[in-house]
Protein backbone atom coordinates (compact mmCIF):
# COMPACT_ATOMS: atom_id res chain seq x y z
CA UNK A 1 0.00 0.00 0.00
CA UNK A 2 1.34 3.46 -0.83
CA UNK A 3 2.07 5.59 2.19
CA UNK A 4 1.04 9.19 2.77
CA UNK A 5 3.87 9.40 5.27
CA UNK A 6 6.88 7.11 5.41
CA UNK A 7 9.57 7.66 8.02
CA UNK A 8 12.60 5.42 8.39
CA UNK A 9 15.12 5.77 11.21
CA UNK A 10 14.58 9.40 12.03
CA UNK A 11 16.81 10.63 14.83
CA UNK A 12 17.09 14.10 16.32
CA UNK A 13 19.60 14.74 19.08
CA UNK A 14 19.48 17.58 21.57
CA UNK A 15 21.75 18.07 24.56
CA UNK A 16 19.47 16.25 26.98
CA UNK A 17 16.97 14.52 24.74
CA UNK A 18 17.10 12.23 21.72
CA UNK A 19 14.33 11.30 19.38
CA UNK A 20 15.69 7.88 18.64
CA UNK A 21 15.34 5.96 15.36
CA UNK A 22 11.68 6.56 14.72
CA UNK A 23 10.15 4.60 11.86
CA UNK A 24 6.50 4.78 11.00
CA UNK A 25 4.10 4.68 8.09
CA UNK A 26 0.74 6.33 7.55
CA UNK A 27 -1.32 4.85 4.71
CA UNK A 28 -3.38 7.08 2.45
CA UNK A 29 -6.88 7.79 3.62
CA UNK A 30 -6.07 7.12 7.28
CA UNK A 31 -5.78 9.11 10.47
CA UNK A 32 -2.75 8.49 12.66
CA UNK A 33 -2.97 9.63 16.27
CA UNK A 34 0.35 10.46 17.86
CA UNK A 35 0.29 10.16 21.64
CA UNK A 36 2.85 10.57 24.37
CA UNK A 37 3.57 12.45 27.58
CA UNK A 38 4.69 16.07 27.58
CA UNK A 39 8.27 16.18 26.33
CA UNK A 40 8.13 12.72 24.79
CA UNK A 41 9.09 13.99 21.33
CA UNK A 42 5.81 14.33 19.44
CA UNK A 43 6.38 17.94 18.41
CA UNK A 44 10.04 17.22 17.69
CA UNK A 45 8.94 14.47 15.31
CA UNK A 46 6.47 16.80 13.59
CA UNK A 47 9.03 19.60 13.37
CA UNK A 48 11.56 17.14 11.93
CA UNK A 49 9.30 15.94 9.14
CA UNK A 50 8.46 19.56 8.31
CA UNK A 51 12.16 20.40 8.24
CA UNK A 52 11.65 23.09 10.87
CA UNK A 53 14.49 21.35 12.68
CA UNK A 54 17.16 19.32 10.93
CA UNK A 55 17.07 15.65 11.79
CA UNK A 56 19.02 12.62 10.59
CA UNK A 57 17.06 9.95 8.80
CA UNK A 58 17.35 7.22 6.19
CA UNK A 59 14.08 8.09 4.48
CA UNK A 60 11.26 10.56 4.88
CA UNK A 61 8.69 10.46 2.12
CA UNK A 62 5.57 12.57 2.32
CA UNK A 63 2.85 11.93 -0.25
CA UNK A 64 5.31 9.83 -2.19
CA UNK A 65 7.91 12.62 -2.42
CA UNK A 66 11.33 12.75 -0.82
CA UNK A 67 11.67 15.42 1.86
CA UNK A 68 15.35 16.11 1.05
CA UNK A 69 14.84 16.95 -2.61
CA UNK A 70 11.16 17.88 -2.94
CA UNK A 71 10.41 19.85 0.20
CA UNK A 72 8.73 22.75 -1.57
CA UNK A 73 6.49 20.46 -3.63
CA UNK A 74 5.52 18.54 -0.50
CA UNK A 75 4.58 21.71 1.36
CA UNK A 76 2.22 22.73 -1.43
CA UNK A 77 0.12 19.72 -0.53
CA UNK A 78 0.24 19.68 3.25
CA UNK A 79 -1.27 21.92 5.88
CA UNK A 80 -0.11 22.26 9.45
CA UNK A 81 -2.10 23.49 12.41
CA UNK A 82 -0.39 24.21 15.70
CA UNK A 83 -1.96 24.71 19.09
CA UNK A 84 -1.66 28.46 18.92
CA UNK A 85 -1.82 30.98 16.14
CA UNK A 86 1.36 32.21 14.54
CA UNK A 87 -0.23 34.90 12.43
CA UNK A 88 0.49 38.50 13.42
CA UNK A 89 -2.07 40.00 15.75
CA UNK A 90 -2.60 43.04 13.54
CA UNK A 91 -3.58 40.93 10.54
CA UNK A 92 -7.22 40.33 9.63
CA UNK A 93 -8.65 37.05 8.26
CA UNK A 94 -9.31 38.80 4.96
CA UNK A 95 -5.70 39.88 4.69
CA UNK A 96 -4.45 36.44 5.71
CA UNK A 97 -6.45 35.04 2.80
CA UNK A 98 -4.79 37.54 0.44
CA UNK A 99 -1.37 36.70 1.86
CA UNK A 100 -1.89 32.94 1.51
CA UNK A 101 -3.21 33.35 -2.04
CA UNK A 102 0.24 34.74 -2.85
CA UNK A 103 1.89 31.68 -1.30
CA UNK A 104 -0.22 28.69 -2.33
CA UNK A 105 -0.90 28.17 -6.02
CA UNK A 106 -4.04 26.14 -5.17
CA UNK A 107 -5.47 28.70 -2.78
CA UNK A 108 -9.27 28.78 -2.88
CA UNK A 109 -10.43 32.15 -1.60
CA UNK A 110 -14.12 31.23 -1.86
CA UNK A 111 -13.59 28.13 0.26
CA UNK A 112 -11.72 30.25 2.80
CA UNK A 113 -14.51 32.81 3.11
CA UNK A 114 -17.04 29.96 3.37
CA UNK A 115 -15.06 28.50 6.27
CA UNK A 116 -14.88 31.92 7.91
CA UNK A 117 -18.68 32.11 7.73
CA UNK A 118 -19.08 28.53 8.95
CA UNK A 119 -16.81 29.18 11.94
CA UNK A 120 -18.41 32.60 12.61
CA UNK A 121 -15.17 34.50 12.21
CA UNK A 122 -15.32 38.23 11.37
CA UNK A 123 -13.38 38.89 8.16
CA UNK A 124 -12.13 42.38 8.86
CA UNK A 125 -11.32 42.31 12.56
CA UNK A 126 -7.72 42.13 13.70
CA UNK A 127 -6.56 38.92 15.32
CA UNK A 128 -5.75 40.71 18.56
CA UNK A 129 -9.52 40.85 19.20
CA UNK A 130 -9.91 37.09 18.67
CA UNK A 131 -10.16 34.53 21.47
CA UNK A 132 -7.80 31.50 21.50
CA UNK A 133 -10.52 29.32 20.05
CA UNK A 134 -11.25 31.80 17.27
CA UNK A 135 -7.57 31.90 16.32
CA UNK A 136 -7.43 28.11 16.07
CA UNK A 137 -10.60 28.12 13.99
CA UNK A 138 -8.90 30.59 11.66
CA UNK A 139 -5.92 28.23 11.41
CA UNK A 140 -8.27 25.44 10.36
CA UNK A 141 -9.99 27.67 7.80
CA UNK A 142 -6.60 28.62 6.32
CA UNK A 143 -5.31 25.05 6.39
CA UNK A 144 -8.29 23.58 4.57
CA UNK A 145 -8.46 26.24 1.86
CA UNK A 146 -5.57 25.21 -0.36
CA UNK A 147 -6.69 21.64 -0.98
CA UNK A 148 -4.03 19.84 1.05
CA UNK A 149 -3.69 16.07 0.91
CA UNK A 150 -2.08 15.69 4.33
CA UNK A 151 -3.17 17.54 7.44
CA UNK A 152 -0.78 17.68 10.38
CA UNK A 153 -2.26 18.80 13.68
CA UNK A 154 0.13 19.44 16.54
CA UNK A 155 -2.12 19.55 19.63
CA UNK A 156 -4.38 21.83 17.63
CA UNK A 157 -7.59 20.99 19.46
CA UNK A 158 -6.24 21.52 22.97
CA UNK A 159 -7.82 24.89 23.64
CA UNK A 160 -11.15 24.25 21.95
CA UNK A 161 -14.56 23.74 23.48
CA UNK A 162 -16.15 20.28 23.09
CA UNK A 163 -18.73 21.55 20.60
CA UNK A 164 -16.13 22.92 18.21
CA UNK A 165 -13.85 19.93 18.75
CA UNK A 166 -16.69 17.70 17.60
CA UNK A 167 -17.16 19.95 14.56
CA UNK A 168 -13.46 19.61 13.78
CA UNK A 169 -13.56 15.83 14.15
CA UNK A 170 -16.43 15.77 11.66
CA UNK A 171 -14.39 17.90 9.25
CA UNK A 172 -11.45 15.52 9.63
CA UNK A 173 -13.70 12.52 8.96
CA UNK A 174 -15.01 14.18 5.80
CA UNK A 175 -11.47 15.12 4.83
CA UNK A 176 -10.31 11.50 4.89
CA UNK A 177 -13.31 10.29 2.91
CA UNK A 178 -11.20 11.10 -0.11
CA UNK A 179 -8.80 8.21 -0.61
CA UNK A 180 -5.69 10.32 -1.03
CA UNK A 181 -6.28 12.46 2.07
CA UNK A 182 -4.63 11.62 5.37
CA UNK A 183 -4.22 13.15 8.81
CA UNK A 184 -1.46 13.05 11.38
CA UNK A 185 -2.80 14.30 14.69
CA UNK A 186 -0.85 14.73 17.87
CA UNK A 187 -3.14 15.21 20.81
CA UNK A 188 -3.49 14.91 24.57
CA UNK A 189 -7.26 14.67 24.17
CA UNK A 190 -7.24 10.91 23.74
CA UNK A 191 -11.04 10.74 23.70
CA UNK A 192 -10.91 12.55 20.35
CA UNK A 193 -8.43 9.99 19.05
CA UNK A 194 -10.67 7.18 20.28
CA UNK A 195 -13.39 8.59 18.05
CA UNK A 196 -11.39 9.30 14.98
CA UNK A 197 -7.99 7.64 14.72
CA UNK A 198 -7.33 4.60 12.55
CA UNK A 199 -3.81 4.12 13.88
CA UNK A 200 -2.10 5.05 17.13
CA UNK A 201 1.60 5.67 17.58
CA UNK A 202 2.86 6.05 21.12
CA UNK A 203 6.10 7.94 21.66
CA UNK A 204 7.67 7.62 25.06
CA UNK A 205 10.95 9.35 26.03
CA UNK A 206 11.94 9.75 22.40
CA UNK A 207 11.19 6.18 21.37
CA UNK A 208 8.31 4.71 19.44
CA UNK A 209 6.77 2.18 21.83
CA UNK A 210 4.19 0.96 19.37
CA UNK A 211 2.35 1.76 16.18
CA UNK A 212 -0.85 -0.20 15.82
CA UNK A 213 -4.23 0.12 14.21
CA UNK A 214 -7.18 0.81 16.47
CA UNK A 215 -8.73 -2.49 15.37
CA UNK A 216 -5.56 -4.34 16.31
CA UNK A 217 -5.45 -2.63 19.68
CA UNK A 218 -9.11 -3.38 20.38
CA UNK A 219 -8.88 -6.99 19.20
CA UNK A 220 -5.59 -7.74 20.85
CA UNK A 221 -5.54 -5.70 24.03
CA UNK A 222 -7.86 -5.19 26.94
CA UNK A 223 -8.16 -4.66 30.68
CA UNK A 224 -8.87 -7.36 33.21
CA UNK A 225 -9.79 -6.58 36.79
CA UNK A 226 -9.03 -9.57 38.96
CA UNK A 227 -7.86 -10.85 42.30
CA UNK A 228 -4.39 -12.02 43.28
CA UNK A 229 -5.08 -15.65 42.46
CA UNK A 230 -6.16 -14.96 38.90
CA UNK A 231 -3.33 -12.49 38.42
CA UNK A 232 -0.80 -15.17 39.39
CA UNK A 233 -2.44 -17.56 36.93
CA UNK A 234 -1.82 -15.20 34.00
CA UNK A 235 1.22 -15.82 31.87
CA UNK A 236 3.77 -12.94 32.01
CA UNK A 237 3.79 -12.95 28.22
CA UNK A 238 0.15 -11.88 28.22
CA UNK A 239 0.70 -8.94 30.59
CA UNK A 240 1.78 -5.58 29.15
CA UNK A 241 1.49 -3.78 32.50
CA UNK A 242 -0.56 -3.85 35.64
CA UNK A 243 -1.69 -1.68 38.55
CA UNK A 244 -2.06 -3.01 42.03
CA UNK A 245 -5.17 -1.56 43.65
CA UNK A 246 -6.29 -1.93 47.30
CA UNK A 247 -8.19 -5.20 46.84
CA UNK A 248 -7.55 -6.17 43.23
CA UNK A 249 -5.31 -5.93 40.19
CA UNK A 250 -5.99 -3.98 37.05
CA UNK A 251 -4.12 -5.71 34.26
CA UNK A 252 -3.52 -4.46 30.75
CA UNK A 253 -3.26 -7.59 28.65
CA UNK A 254 -2.45 -8.62 25.10
CA UNK A 255 -3.39 -11.86 23.31
CA UNK A 256 -6.99 -11.09 24.21
CA UNK A 257 -8.46 -13.80 21.98
CA UNK A 258 -6.34 -16.62 23.39
CA UNK A 259 -7.00 -15.45 26.96
CA UNK A 260 -10.74 -15.48 26.26
CA UNK A 261 -10.43 -19.07 25.03
CA UNK A 262 -8.41 -20.08 28.10
CA UNK A 263 -10.63 -18.26 30.61
CA UNK A 264 -14.14 -18.33 29.16
CA UNK A 265 -15.90 -16.50 31.97
CA UNK A 266 -13.55 -13.53 32.47
CA UNK A 267 -14.66 -10.07 31.55
CA UNK A 268 -12.17 -8.21 29.35
CA UNK A 269 -12.86 -4.51 28.98
CA UNK A 270 -11.81 -2.44 25.98
CA UNK A 271 -8.90 -0.21 26.79
CA UNK A 272 -9.21 3.41 25.74
CA UNK A 273 -6.17 5.22 24.40
CA UNK A 274 -5.87 7.01 27.73
CA UNK A 275 -5.81 3.65 29.54
CA UNK A 276 -3.04 2.45 27.24
CA UNK A 277 -0.98 5.55 27.86
CA UNK A 278 -1.38 5.29 31.61
CA UNK A 279 -0.49 1.62 31.69
CA UNK A 280 2.51 2.01 29.44
CA UNK A 281 3.90 4.97 31.34
CA UNK A 282 2.79 4.37 34.93
CA UNK A 283 1.98 0.68 35.06
CA UNK A 284 4.18 -1.94 36.65
CA UNK A 285 5.88 -4.27 34.25
CA UNK A 286 6.55 -7.96 34.75
CA UNK A 287 10.32 -8.30 34.59
Amino acid sequence: MKQALHIKNLTKKYKDFTLDHISLDLPYGMILGLIGENGSGKSTLINSILNIVKADYDEVHILGQDLKSQEKEIKKEIAVIFNDSHYGENLTPLFIGKMLSGIYTDWDQKKFTDYLKQFHLPEKKRLKTFSTGMKVKLEFAAALSHNPKLLILDEATNGLDPVFREEILEILREFTEQEDHSVLISSHITSDLDKIADYIAYIHEGRLLFLKSIDELNNDCGIIRCGREFFDALSPEDIIAYREEPYSYCVFIKNRQSLRKAFCDISIENASIEDMMLFYSKGEKII
Partner: protein, 221 residues
Protein backbone atom coordinates in the same frame (compact mmCIF):
# COMPACT_ATOMS: atom_id res chain seq x y z
CA UNK B 1 7.40 35.00 -1.76
CA UNK B 2 4.72 37.44 -2.95
CA UNK B 3 2.57 36.67 0.09
CA UNK B 4 5.42 37.25 2.54
CA UNK B 5 6.37 40.56 0.92
CA UNK B 6 2.71 41.61 1.06
CA UNK B 7 2.56 40.75 4.75
CA UNK B 8 5.73 42.73 5.50
CA UNK B 9 4.38 45.73 3.59
CA UNK B 10 1.14 45.52 5.54
CA UNK B 11 3.05 45.42 8.83
CA UNK B 12 5.16 48.41 7.85
CA UNK B 13 2.25 50.67 7.01
CA UNK B 14 -1.04 49.28 8.29
CA UNK B 15 0.03 49.01 11.90
CA UNK B 16 -0.72 52.32 13.55
CA UNK B 17 2.54 52.87 15.39
CA UNK B 18 4.67 51.94 12.36
CA UNK B 19 2.66 54.21 10.08
CA UNK B 20 3.02 57.03 12.61
CA UNK B 21 6.80 56.42 12.77
CA UNK B 22 7.12 56.85 9.04
CA UNK B 23 5.00 60.00 9.12
CA UNK B 24 7.12 61.36 11.96
CA UNK B 25 10.27 60.65 9.94
CA UNK B 26 8.87 62.51 6.93
CA UNK B 27 7.89 65.41 9.19
CA UNK B 28 11.41 65.48 10.64
CA UNK B 29 12.75 65.57 7.10
CA UNK B 30 10.61 68.62 6.26
CA UNK B 31 11.76 70.33 9.46
CA UNK B 32 15.38 69.69 8.48
CA UNK B 33 14.73 71.15 5.02
CA UNK B 34 13.22 74.25 6.64
CA UNK B 35 16.14 74.56 9.06
CA UNK B 36 18.52 74.17 6.13
CA UNK B 37 17.09 77.16 4.30
CA UNK B 38 17.30 79.57 7.21
CA UNK B 39 21.00 79.14 7.97
CA UNK B 40 24.28 80.28 6.43
CA UNK B 41 26.03 78.60 3.51
CA UNK B 42 27.86 76.09 5.71
CA UNK B 43 24.57 75.13 7.41
CA UNK B 44 22.86 74.91 4.02
CA UNK B 45 25.46 72.53 2.62
CA UNK B 46 25.75 70.65 5.92
CA UNK B 47 22.02 69.98 6.16
CA UNK B 48 21.68 69.35 2.42
CA UNK B 49 24.32 66.61 2.62
CA UNK B 50 22.83 65.30 5.86
CA UNK B 51 19.41 64.93 4.26
CA UNK B 52 20.58 63.58 0.92
CA UNK B 53 23.36 61.26 2.05
CA UNK B 54 22.08 60.24 5.45
CA UNK B 55 18.44 60.78 6.34
CA UNK B 56 16.92 59.46 3.12
CA UNK B 57 19.09 56.29 3.22
CA UNK B 58 18.29 55.70 6.90
CA UNK B 59 14.59 55.82 6.09
CA UNK B 60 15.13 53.31 3.33
CA UNK B 61 16.78 50.74 5.61
CA UNK B 62 14.05 50.35 8.17
CA UNK B 63 11.58 47.95 6.52
CA UNK B 64 12.95 44.79 8.10
CA UNK B 65 12.67 46.09 11.67
CA UNK B 66 8.89 46.55 11.58
CA UNK B 67 8.15 43.14 10.10
CA UNK B 68 10.67 41.37 12.34
CA UNK B 69 9.03 42.88 15.42
CA UNK B 70 5.67 41.37 14.46
CA UNK B 71 7.19 38.05 13.40
CA UNK B 72 9.04 37.58 16.68
CA UNK B 73 5.95 38.42 18.75
CA UNK B 74 3.97 35.49 17.34
CA UNK B 75 6.84 33.23 16.20
CA UNK B 76 5.63 33.60 12.61
CA UNK B 77 8.62 31.57 11.41
CA UNK B 78 7.00 28.41 12.77
CA UNK B 79 4.04 28.62 10.40
CA UNK B 80 6.11 30.25 7.65
CA UNK B 81 8.39 27.22 7.50
CA UNK B 82 5.37 25.02 6.71
CA UNK B 83 4.58 27.12 3.64
CA UNK B 84 5.87 26.03 0.22
CA UNK B 85 8.71 28.53 0.29
CA UNK B 86 12.34 27.75 0.91
CA UNK B 87 14.48 29.41 3.58
CA UNK B 88 16.35 31.15 0.75
CA UNK B 89 13.10 32.65 -0.51
CA UNK B 90 12.12 33.76 3.00
CA UNK B 91 15.38 35.69 3.46
CA UNK B 92 15.27 36.93 -0.14
CA UNK B 93 11.78 38.34 0.38
CA UNK B 94 13.09 40.52 3.25
CA UNK B 95 15.98 41.73 1.10
CA UNK B 96 13.77 42.41 -1.92
CA UNK B 97 11.40 44.53 0.14
CA UNK B 98 14.34 46.31 1.75
CA UNK B 99 15.94 47.05 -1.62
CA UNK B 100 12.58 48.39 -2.90
CA UNK B 101 12.36 50.71 0.11
CA UNK B 102 15.97 51.74 -0.43
CA UNK B 103 15.42 52.43 -4.12
CA UNK B 104 12.31 54.50 -3.45
CA UNK B 105 14.10 56.56 -0.81
CA UNK B 106 17.11 57.12 -3.07
CA UNK B 107 14.78 58.16 -5.90
CA UNK B 108 13.07 60.67 -3.58
CA UNK B 109 16.53 61.83 -2.55
CA UNK B 110 17.45 62.37 -6.22
CA UNK B 111 14.21 64.30 -6.81
CA UNK B 112 15.10 66.43 -3.79
CA UNK B 113 18.58 67.08 -5.23
CA UNK B 114 17.23 68.13 -8.63
CA UNK B 115 14.49 70.32 -7.19
CA UNK B 116 16.77 71.98 -4.64
CA UNK B 117 19.70 72.63 -6.96
CA UNK B 118 17.41 74.02 -9.67
CA UNK B 119 15.56 76.34 -7.30
CA UNK B 120 18.61 77.51 -5.31
CA UNK B 121 21.91 78.65 -6.79
CA UNK B 122 23.93 78.03 -3.65
CA UNK B 123 24.52 74.33 -4.35
CA UNK B 124 25.44 73.20 -7.83
CA UNK B 125 24.02 70.11 -9.49
CA UNK B 126 27.44 68.46 -9.39
CA UNK B 127 27.66 69.02 -5.63
CA UNK B 128 24.11 67.73 -5.26
CA UNK B 129 24.84 64.62 -7.27
CA UNK B 130 28.02 64.00 -5.23
CA UNK B 131 25.96 64.12 -2.07
CA UNK B 132 23.40 61.82 -3.61
CA UNK B 133 26.13 59.38 -4.69
CA UNK B 134 27.45 59.25 -1.12
CA UNK B 135 23.91 58.60 0.00
CA UNK B 136 23.53 55.62 -2.36
CA UNK B 137 26.88 54.24 -1.21
CA UNK B 138 26.03 54.72 2.44
CA UNK B 139 22.57 53.20 2.00
CA UNK B 140 23.98 50.03 0.41
CA UNK B 141 26.58 49.50 3.11
CA UNK B 142 24.24 50.41 5.96
CA UNK B 143 21.49 48.18 4.55
CA UNK B 144 23.90 45.26 4.23
CA UNK B 145 25.26 45.58 7.75
CA UNK B 146 21.95 46.26 9.47
CA UNK B 147 20.02 43.50 7.73
CA UNK B 148 22.67 40.97 8.67
CA UNK B 149 22.60 42.27 12.25
CA UNK B 150 18.83 41.74 12.41
CA UNK B 151 19.11 38.18 11.16
CA UNK B 152 22.03 37.39 13.45
CA UNK B 153 20.87 39.07 16.64
CA UNK B 154 17.10 39.36 16.35
CA UNK B 155 15.02 42.48 16.42
CA UNK B 156 16.01 44.05 19.77
CA UNK B 157 19.78 43.72 19.43
CA UNK B 158 19.56 44.41 15.70
CA UNK B 159 17.86 47.70 16.46
CA UNK B 160 20.67 48.62 18.83
CA UNK B 161 23.16 47.91 16.04
CA UNK B 162 21.04 50.04 13.67
CA UNK B 163 21.07 53.00 16.06
CA UNK B 164 24.76 52.56 16.92
CA UNK B 165 25.88 52.47 13.30
CA UNK B 166 23.64 55.42 12.40
CA UNK B 167 25.16 57.42 15.25
CA UNK B 168 28.65 56.30 14.26
CA UNK B 169 28.20 57.47 10.66
CA UNK B 170 26.57 60.65 11.91
CA UNK B 171 29.53 61.27 14.17
CA UNK B 172 32.03 60.62 11.39
CA UNK B 173 30.09 62.98 9.09
CA UNK B 174 29.99 65.66 11.77
CA UNK B 175 33.71 65.33 12.48
CA UNK B 176 34.77 65.34 8.80
CA UNK B 177 32.54 68.27 7.90
CA UNK B 178 33.84 70.26 10.89
CA UNK B 179 37.51 69.44 10.42
CA UNK B 180 37.77 69.35 6.64
CA UNK B 181 34.74 71.49 5.70
CA UNK B 182 31.90 70.81 3.29
CA UNK B 183 34.06 71.57 0.23
CA UNK B 184 36.04 68.41 0.98
CA UNK B 185 32.89 66.33 0.84
CA UNK B 186 30.97 68.01 -1.96
CA UNK B 187 33.33 69.73 -4.36
CA UNK B 188 35.40 68.09 -7.08
CA UNK B 189 34.82 65.11 -9.28
CA UNK B 190 33.79 62.13 -7.22
CA UNK B 191 33.03 59.88 -10.19
CA UNK B 192 35.83 57.40 -9.52
CA UNK B 193 34.73 56.98 -5.91
CA UNK B 194 31.26 56.07 -7.06
CA UNK B 195 32.39 53.84 -9.94
CA UNK B 196 34.40 51.77 -7.47
CA UNK B 197 32.29 52.32 -4.38
CA UNK B 198 28.83 51.44 -5.63
CA UNK B 199 29.77 47.97 -6.98
CA UNK B 200 31.49 47.36 -3.64
CA UNK B 201 28.30 48.45 -1.91
CA UNK B 202 26.31 46.00 -4.02
CA UNK B 203 28.82 43.28 -3.15
CA UNK B 204 28.28 44.10 0.53
CA UNK B 205 24.55 43.52 0.05
CA UNK B 206 25.14 40.18 -1.69
CA UNK B 207 27.52 39.02 1.06
CA UNK B 208 25.05 40.22 3.67
CA UNK B 209 22.30 38.15 2.03
CA UNK B 210 24.34 34.96 2.14
CA UNK B 211 25.43 35.56 5.72
CA UNK B 212 21.82 36.25 6.74
CA UNK B 213 20.73 33.06 4.98
CA UNK B 214 23.38 31.06 6.84
CA UNK B 215 22.13 32.52 10.15
CA UNK B 216 18.53 31.69 9.31
CA UNK B 217 19.38 28.13 8.28
CA UNK B 218 21.46 27.61 11.43
CA UNK B 219 18.61 28.85 13.62
CA UNK B 220 16.32 26.21 12.15
CA UNK B 221 18.66 23.24 12.15
Amino acid sequence: MKGIILKDLYENFRIFKNGVSYLAAVLFLFLLIEAMQTGDLFSLKYFFMLITAFVFPLLGCSSIESSLEQDEKVNFDKIQLTFPITKTEIVLSKYILGICFLTICNVFSLIFVFSFTSSHNKITLQEGLSAWGFGVLFSLVFFAVVNFAFFLLGRKLGLIVYIFIAMLFGGIYGAVSSLKGMEFLMAGDKTMIFIIGIPIGILFVVISFFLSLACYKKRYS
